[in-house]
């Protein structure tokens, strides 16, 4: 089934124009997803292993550095390296979005990264959420949800973000020796946000038992990820009606496999995908078809995407969603013809001024969403007086600083909007006083900001 270029670009991508050879049918989009992740290789982002070498170096040596100026200087260099890596990873993420022929993959990565929200702490930590996406999300976007879930739950960034690093089994060896107790945060969000959804039938007792089951999973900067039996609550736990027992991580992995396969999880994920990609109030038939495809494929994600891409409701609905600030910026850079390599070459203050600061001003403080439920979806939360003013401000200022010469506004409107450009917009852009304002009006238009 061939989809219109503007549908592929707006609803499932980062905007027009499509790259040469970009997939344009549902089959081609899915085949591209199943193929190699070329953007990850072209614009690399470090994994947690890389971060760990440096974070553990600092953790092991910071006491000694207090009395050793040479060591202190070396550690300051490592701090700087971590901080720089956070900015470099932002640059690589932008580069992937503007350069990818297979934009659906990048949109899916963003979707799942938001579904499994983690946020950074201090500047040393800025790289953490990016390493998390690289390790736990990206490799699994075209695979099985259960594999992604398992990678997420074992990743230091998630263990830290949802306080699992502090949770101690009440009857564990550590609690008996040095005190400590449970923290339910990861257990609760794992069911409420990540899998079953708040409407599903689980109880407080399930949350509590799951919190006990998860004890032992931990992380600290010195040793990195670990399963520490000294933290684990002894004995079996019963969660969602099934009892899990065994040595070390085995019962946790068994539980996650079960959780990932539950029908409520499929329903929750299908609806969330449909809301994100298609409509704040998606067609229930499409959601049902997506959940059924997922269930029939035992939790594989490609069939669920396929059910969405091929459903008539995914093609018919009007552009009733907002491009979130990140999507707006990626589409603008892409439309202006900024290349991935250009972004990588930007100095850090340019990346901050063009991307990071505007994201915050538009209401999307990057990698610091307000809570573990991630960014809101509704159109009205993004198209506010404040948010739109920031978009207009960006649209009027930055294109002229980023590309020279600026495109002719009418041609630009047709290139970035395709069949979505309204007669009123085309009437207006040719009447702008100069090219910069003409291009700015295109990027400020409802057509460009809706998807």
């Amino acid at each position: 089934m061939t989809l219109s270029p503007s549908l592929v670009a707006f609803r499932f991508g980062y905007g027009l124009p499509l790259a040469a050879g970009a997939p344009q049918t549902a089959e081609a989009m899915l085949a591209a997803l199943a193929g190699p992740d070329t953007m990850a290789a072209r614009f690399p982002v470090p994994s947690y292993d890389w971060v760990h070498e440096r974070a553990s170096d600092i953790a092991r040596n910071k006491m000694a550095a207090k009395t050793d100026p040479t060591l202190q200087t070396r550690l300051e260099g490592v701090h700087a390296e971590l901080k720089e890596a956070g900015m470099a990873a932002l640059g690589a993420s932008v580069a992937r979005c503007v350069a990818a022929p297979d934009m659906f993959r990048e949109r899916l990565v963003a979707f799942w990264a938001d579904h499994f929200t983690v946020s950074a702490g201090g500047q040393d930590d800025a790289i953490f959420p990016y390493a998390f996406v690289e390790d736990a999300i990206r490799p699994h976007v075209a695979g099985h949800f259960g594999d992604m879930l398992s990678a997420v739950v074992h990743h230091p960034a998630m263990l830290r973000y949802l306080d699992q690093t502090r949770s101690v089994g009440p009857n564990s060896r550590k609690a008996k020796r040095r005190g400590g107790g449970l923290n339910e945060n990861l257990a609760r969000e794992l069911m409420e946000l990540h899998t079953l959804g708040v409407g599903a039938s689980y109880s407080q007792a399930d949350v509590r038992q799951l919190a006990e089951l998860l004890t032992g999973l931990t992380y600290d900067a010195r040793r990195g990820y670990a399963f520490d039996p000294a933290l684990a609550e002894p004995g079996p736990e019963t969660v969602l009606g099934k009892t899990y027992d065994g040595k070390d991580e085995a019962p946790i992995r068994a539980f996650l496999q079960d959780l990932a396969r539950r029908p409520e999880t499929g329903q929750h994920l299908a609806r969330k995908l449909a809301v994100h990609f298609v409509s704040d109030d998606p067609d229930p038939a499409m959601v049902t078809a997506m959940a059924a495809a997922w269930q029939a494929a035992d939790g594989a994600l490609l069939p669920m995407y396929q059910a969405m891409l091929t459903h008539p409701a995914a093609h018919a609905a009007p552009a009733a969603k907002a491009r979130q600030p990140w999507d707006f910026l990626m589409a603008a850079l892409r439309g202006l013809g900024v290349k991935g390599e250009d972004v990588i070459a930007w100095k850090r203050d340019r990346l901050t001024a063009v991307v990071l600061q505007p994201l915050r001003a538009m209401g999307q403080n990057w990698k610091s969403p307000p809570g573990p439920d991630g960014w809101p979806e509704a159109l009205e939360t993004w198209i506010t007086p404040q948010g739109l003013a920031e978009r207009i401000g960006w649209a009027m200022r930055w294109p002229a600083e980023l590309v020279s010469p600026l495109p002719e506004p009418k041609a630009f409107a047709e290139a970035v909007l395709g069949d979505r450009a309204s007669p009123a917009l085309l009437w207006a852009v040719v009447r702008a006083e100069n090219r910069a304002e003409g291009v700015g009006i295109v990027l400020s238009s409802p057509e460009f900001n809706r998807r």
């Binding site: 306080d163 502090r166 107790g181 923290n183 939360t381 198209i383 506010t384 007086p385 003013a389 304002e437």
Partner: protein, 402 residues
């Protein structure tokens, strides 16, 4: 020359499009046309989002069971309230109000929400809602909203505080405001004219842009009037005081009911510090309201600060508490019978706890709000039980209002 306010007015687009924005605190105001309906009493409702730990705010220090549940919390000395309960020292600034009979608490109270302990669901039950001045799809249902629908002669509006880094309410000619100080829209007149054409058929964009431009003008005026020495750096927490200032100014006028929220109560770890910070904001909000309202209006004012649920009786392993059930409500004002901890105390023995882990609710938090509104405005019991809080059994008047 284009008059943007005329454009705004002409299209009747006075709504704000940000009802559900996570960074915004909305403030909803209600007043009556002609003083008759609501009279002179004022009600301020503060929703404490994130689940305040009632047991650490109004501590049952007289119960020997408390300390074993909470080995590291509650270590700083409490201020005595009534010999049994002690006040968290972070609210020390409110202790004089307690002595003056202008501060009370309700303990072991909760919404009817049980078992799931999700913030998002819990807050829905407590939601005050927004005024009907917003476009219909952005009006959030809530008890205040339902009063507005049920009582003739009431009018309401919603204002928005921006909480990016520092939250701010901005006053100006537009009735609905949402702005951050460093945003400005400076466009050539031609670009403005063209954008208005481009937005013409999209009401959401048209309204947002029109407000942005109108507010941008107000911002310019504010900047011009502001003392340059004071510009820029303010304490982050001034936000809470600014909301209080804004609410107080309105309450001194026609407004009789104001509702807004304070965040930062979800203390899973480091509760000592984090709860102290949130209580500090609440304390400053109440003291600021009292100061700005002045003795006469404060004497007719009731402040109800309520939260979606309480927290676990036992401290967790990380110096905090997890989501629980019953909690406490903070009541202040010159119109209340203060100096008392209201509510039936259920005790802390394990068998007395809800699901053997949470403080047992002995009252419905909505009943206190309903009795307060009945006491202040004489609203009919049927109206309160059927329309405003459907399904609520108000029970006997606890005598909270003087």
């Amino acid at each position: 020359m284009i008059d943007r306010r005329n454009l705004l007015r002409g299209l009747g687009l006075l709504g704000c499009s940000a009802a559900a924005h996570p960074f915004l605190t909305s403030v909803t105001f209600a007043a009556s046309d002609g003083a008759a309906t609501l009279g002179e009493n004022r009600l301020v409702v503060i929703i404490l989002r994130g689940a305040m730990d009632g047991l650490d705010v109004v501590r049952p220090v007289g119960d020997p069971l408390l300390a074993p549940y909470r080995p590291t919390l509650s270590q700083v000395e409490s201020l005595d309230l009534d010999g049994y309960f002690g006040l968290n020292p972070a609210l020390a600034g409110l202790h004089p109000l307690w002595q003056a009979g202008e501060l009370a608490f309700v303990h072991a109270t909760s919404t009817p929400y049980r078992n799931k302990r999700s913030h998002f669901d819990g807050q829905d039950l407590l939601e005050a809602g927004t005024g009907p001045d917003l476009p219909i799809d952005q009006v959030r249902d809530g008890w205040l909203n339902r009063i507005l629908q049920a009582v003739p002669g009431l009018r309401a509006e919603t204002a928005f505080a921006v909480g990016r880094q520092d939250m701010r309410i901005l006053r100006g000619p537009a009735p609905v405001m949402e702005w951050a100080p460093d945003t400005s829209v400076s466009l050539s007149p031609q670009a403005q004219l063209l954008l208005e054409q481009v937005y013409h058929d999209d009401p959401l964009f048209l309204a947002a842009a029109a407000e942005a431009m109108a507010l941008s003008e107000v911002e310019d005026m504010d900047d011009a009037m502001m003392d340059p020495a004071k510009a820029g750096k303010g304490r982050k927490d001034d936000a809470a005081e600014r909301v209080a200032d804004y609410a107080a100014e309105r309450l001194r006028g026609d407004t009789r009911i104001a509702a807004f929220s304070l965040t930062g109560w979800d203390t899973h770890k480091g509760q000592g510090k984090n709860l102290g910070r949130a209580l500090g904001r609440l304390e400053r909000t109440i003291l600021r309201l009292r100061h700005k309202l002045g003795a006469e209006v404060w004497g007719k004012t009731t402040v109800l600060a309520m939260t979606e649920f309480g927290r676990t009786v036992a401290e967790n392993g990380t110096g905090g508490t997890d989501h629980g059930t019953a909690g406490a409500m903070v009541v202040a004002g010159g119109a209340i019978r203060g100096g008392k901890v209201y509510g039936q105390w259920p005790g802390l023995a394990e068998a007395d706890l809800f699901e053997r882990r949470d403080l047992m609710p002995t009252s419905d938090v909505r009943a206190w709000a309903a009795h307060a509104m009945r006491g202040l405005y004489g609203f009919d019991r049927t109206l309160l039980q059927d329309k405003v809080f459907p399904g609520l059994q108000m029970g006997d008047d606890p005598g909270l209002i003087l």
